[in-house]
């Protein structure tokens, strides 16, 4: 499916997700929206390193990576001024207070949910 011109075209996205099938779904969805995949990570240390070093516009963070919370990644991103979206199967209320401002993508999701969450995060 050719990528139609949209508000998210050309945005570089870091995908942090431990479920390979979900990563694949996100990748495909993002590409469909005209985004570029900056990289993917399924492990916390890997994700932290990438969050610190890579250049990208926005991140999608699975709240739970193999039983570890991704909040430290969120902090790194906040300090770098990079917006992010949480993706989770949990309730949004299980996020710490300081992170409840972030848009939340509830799994499973529709394409427009993903687009809206990223749009909100990026303010576009």
């Amino acid at each position: 499916m050719p990528a139609a011109e949209s508000r998210l075209t050309g945005k570089r996205v870091l995908v942090v997700e431990d479920e390979a099938l979900v990563t694949m779904l996100l990748e495909e969805g993002l590409i469909d929206m005209g985004c570029e995949i900056a990289d993917t990570a399924s492990r916390l240390d890997d994700a932290l390193e990438k969050a610190n070093s890579l250049l990208f516009d926005v991140a999608i963070l699975d709240v739970n990576l193999h039983g570890q919370k991704t909040f430290p990644i969120a902090e790194v991103l906040s300090s770098r001024g990079i917006p992010f979206v949480f993706s989770t199967g949990y309730e949004a209320s299980s996020l710490p207070l300081s992170l409840q401002q972030a848009p939340v993508l509830q799994k499973p999701f529709q394409q427009q949910d993903l687009e809206q969450a990223l749009g909100t995060a990026l303010g576009v």
Binding site: A20, L25, T40, G89, Y90, E91, Q106, F109
Partner: protein
């Protein structure tokens, strides 16, 4: 008996006779000869002297009184042998009233003297010396009459004695009325009796106990004697006092050394130096014998009337005093009992109110800690103890845990925070025996002696302790409630009764707290479980979404897409079955492989799979990923590979890699039709190449070799199995070739 006025009349007549006044003598109707006869016959002592004081005449009565016959014309002044004044001072004859009458020529009246006989006996008398004169009035001699006044004296002494006795009795009564102890009031009686005693003696009072079985010394005897006889049994075989009380009549033993019953006590009589022993029962007006009065004589002594009289009077007075004393004791006892019961009632009422307020709190209050503190406080009040504590039984450790206390210092609190089941403390013991343990004095308790517990109690300043087990409604142990005293103490039945109500409340509270806690734990577990379930379902749905999305996207036709989707969802579902069987804690790779290949290996055809590898447990996530990869590989083999012709088969092997920390799984297709590299990676290939690599954190090789597809994954064991403590897979055997 000659009256005093008669004596004076006779004296006057004698004066006339002495002066030889016949007329006057005739007035009395006597002549001299008759007069002489009359004087001789008089029962009163009469004698005369000449002017020089030499005795000229005495009658028989005078000789009797003097106890001698005076020598006429020789004895001077008086017929007596020796003279004394009433107070016992010797009186010279030359200074006696007769001598005064002669030398001073006057009658002497109203004096008394005491005559001493040669045999030593003494007679008090009253002299009436009168001078005799001739018609010219010259002194010619004197006449004296001696009146024996011993009876009079005796009566006088008895009167004085009676007065002293009455005064003593009055004093004793007054002392008793003023509330003096029996020792004091009966002591006064003894003092009075001793003052009047004519022979050497001791007097004592004994009082019977309320049961009437024993006598207790009240007053009179020295301590050494009291020690020996106090608690003397009342009965037929007893010493005189016990015997007198038993019989209700006097027991007189003139000489105890002669009495067989005294045989064992003879040493006592010798040591305390007495022989005669008399005992008189003391009876109340109603005839009840309440004690005895005893007299001990230095010399053997039988009872004389006078002594019996005295003893009877003493016993009577004593009975009044003792009765009064006992009545007042009884009154005091009753009023004390009344006060005590009033105090008890008030205390019970206060305790009941306290318990009620705790009950109310138990229903209302949510703060369990505050309630424990309240119960401990109430325990101290109800039991009048210095300290109190409440412990809860920790079922895991089978030990008592201190949850609230009153009065422990920091060290005691630390020492008793945990009490083991078999500790020698009272609570450890009570826990083991499931009964209340009371130790009224830890120093006197055999069970405590020389135990570390005893030392701990000493350190904490505890002398007495009580521990009551707290038992649930179903009869199981919940904990312990204890109270501690600084001084030896045995709690009363009443206190324990109230305390048990408190213990019941404490047990109910603990039971309630335990079920509330259990309920909360269950609720929290359930919440956690639901959250986890929700998460898993959402993730699974996301996975399914991804599979559906990509399957349909890459499908050439709707029918093909639907078929692929069905097959993938079934593969996913089969893997889930394996995991669910293992409660999602892990899965055996061998089982997962068998399950994934089951759909392709059925039928009667030749064996298509050659599977080898040892048992290895995979994490659920790794298990799912491998299952899905195997499904894709098998589907591909059926469509294009080794399973698409008649002869092809697949070798599947797994085991340890080059590194012990690595795992390797290989899939190689043999004897299939020639294959070629696909132009475009389909979903299946992507799932194997990227998805599996990501999920296992490993490296995937996928080669479309002309003679068959070869797939291998190398992944860290840790990612597959979790911890390092899992058994390492056997190394792949060397025959394996890529």
């Amino acid at each position: 008996m000659v009256e005093e006025q008669d004596v004076y009349a006779i004296g006057d007549a004698l004066q006339h006779v002495a002066v030889a006044d016949p007329l006057a003598a005739l007035d009395f109707g006597f002549d001299a000869k008759h007069l002489r006869q009359l004087l001789d016959a008089l029962p009163v002592a009469v004698y005369t002297t000449d002017a020089a004081g030499l005795v000229t005449y005495f009658n028989q009565a005078a000789a009797d009184l003097a106890g001698r016959r005076p020598a006429l014309g020789t004895d001077e002044w008086c017929v007596t042998w020796k003279l004394h004044l009433p107070d016992g001072t010797p009186l010279a004859h030359s200074e006696c009233p007769m001598a005064i009458a002669l030398t001073e020529n006057r009658s002497v009246r109203g004096v008394e003297a005491v005559a001493e006989r040669p045999d030593g006996t003494r007679v008090p008398f009253m002299p009436f010396p009168t001078p005799l004169r001739d018609e010219n009035g010259d002194l010619v001699g004197a006449v004296n009459m001696l009146l024996d006044i011993s009876e009079h004296k005796k009566a006088e002494r008895r009167l004085r004695q009676n007065e002293a006795w009455l005064a003593g009795q009055k004093e004793a009564f007054q002392a008793a009325m003023n509330g003096a102890p029996l020792e004091k009031s009966l002591g006064i009686l003894i003092e009075t009796a001793m003052k009047q005693a004519e022979s050497e003696r001791r007097c004592a009072f004994y009082i019977a106990n309320p049961e009437g079985t024993e006598l207790r010394h009240v007053v009179g005897m020295p301590d050494g004697y009291v020690k020996c006889v106090d608690g003397l049994k009342i009965g037929p075989g007893s010493l005189p006092c016990g015997l007198a009380v038993h019989r209700g009549e006097p027991v007189i033993m003139p000489d105890v050394l002669e009495e067989p019953v005294w045989e064992p006590w003879a040493w006592l009589a010798r040591e305390f130096d007495f022989r005669g022993c008399w005992s008189f029962p003391i009876e109340t007006a109603s005839g009840k014998v309440v004690g005895s009065f005893a007299m001990y004589f230095k010399e053997p002594n039988g009872a004389a009337d006078r002594d019996r009289e005295l003893a009877a009077a003493l016993a009577h007075t004593a009975s009044i005093i003792i009765s009064r004393h006992q009545e007042s004791l009884e009154r005091e006892r009753i009023s004390q009992a009344l006060r005590e019961s009033e105090r008890n009632l008030a205390a019970e009422l206060a305790a009941a109110r306290h318990l009620q307020s705790i009950s109310t709190s138990l229903i209302r209050e949510g703060d369990v800690e505050a309630l424990y503190a309240q119960i401990v406080e109430a325990a101290g009040e109800v039991m009048h103890s210095d300290m109190a504590s409440i412990q809860v039984l920790d079922h895991e450790n089978d030990a008592l845990h201190l949850i609230a206390h009153k009065g422990f210092d920091a060290e005691a609190e630390a020492t008793w925070r945990w009490i083991e089941h078999d500790d020698a403390t009272s609570c450890g013991h009570a826990l083991k025996t499931k009964t209340r343990i009371v130790v009224p004095d830890i120093e006197a308790d055999e069970f405590m002696a020389c135990t570390p517990a005893q030392e701990q109690y000493r350190k904490a300043g505890i002398r007495a302790v009580q521990s009551t087990p707290l038992v649930g409604r179903a009869g199981h142990s919940l904990g312990m409630i204890s109270t501690h005293w600084r001084m030896p103490h045995e709690p009363s039945e009443r206190d324990l009764r109230i305390f048990d109500v408190l213990a019941r409340q404490a047990a109910d509270l603990i039971e309630r707290k335990e079920s509330e806690d259990a309920l909360q734990r269950r609720a929290a577990q359930l919440r956690l479980l639901l959250d986890e379930l929700n998460h898993r379902v959402k993730n699974t749905l996301a996975t399914v979404q991804s599979i559906a999305h990509q399957t349909l996207r890459h499908a050439s036709t709707m029918a093909e897409g639907r078929k692929s989707l069905d097959a993938r969802l079934i593969a996913l579902s089969r893997a889930h079955n394996v995991l669910t069987r293992e409660h999602w804690e892990g899965a055996n790779l061998r089982e997962l492989v068998a399950e994934a290949l089951a759909a392709y290996s059925n039928g009667s055809g030749p064996r298509r799979f050659d599977v080898s590898g040892n048992d290895i447990r995979l994490l659920p996530k790794a298990g799912l990923a491998i299952s899905m990869a195997l499904h894709e590989l098998a589907t591909n083999a059926v469509k294009y590979g080794a399973l698409s012709n008649e002869n092809g088969h697949v070798r599947i092997r797994w085991g340890g890699g080059e590194d012990a920390q690595l795992f390797r799984l290989e899939w190689s297709e043999i004897d299939g039709p020639p294959i070629e590299q696909p132009r475009r990676l389909g979903f299946g290939s992507r799932l194997i190449k990227h998805g599996l690599a990501q999920d296992l954190g490993g490296v995937v090789e996928l080669h479309f070799e002309p003679d068959g597809l070869v797939f291998a994954i190398d992944a860290p064991l840790k990612e597959l199995c979790g911890g390092d403590d899992k058994p390492h897979p056997r190394p792949l055997d060397d025959r394996w070739e890529r």
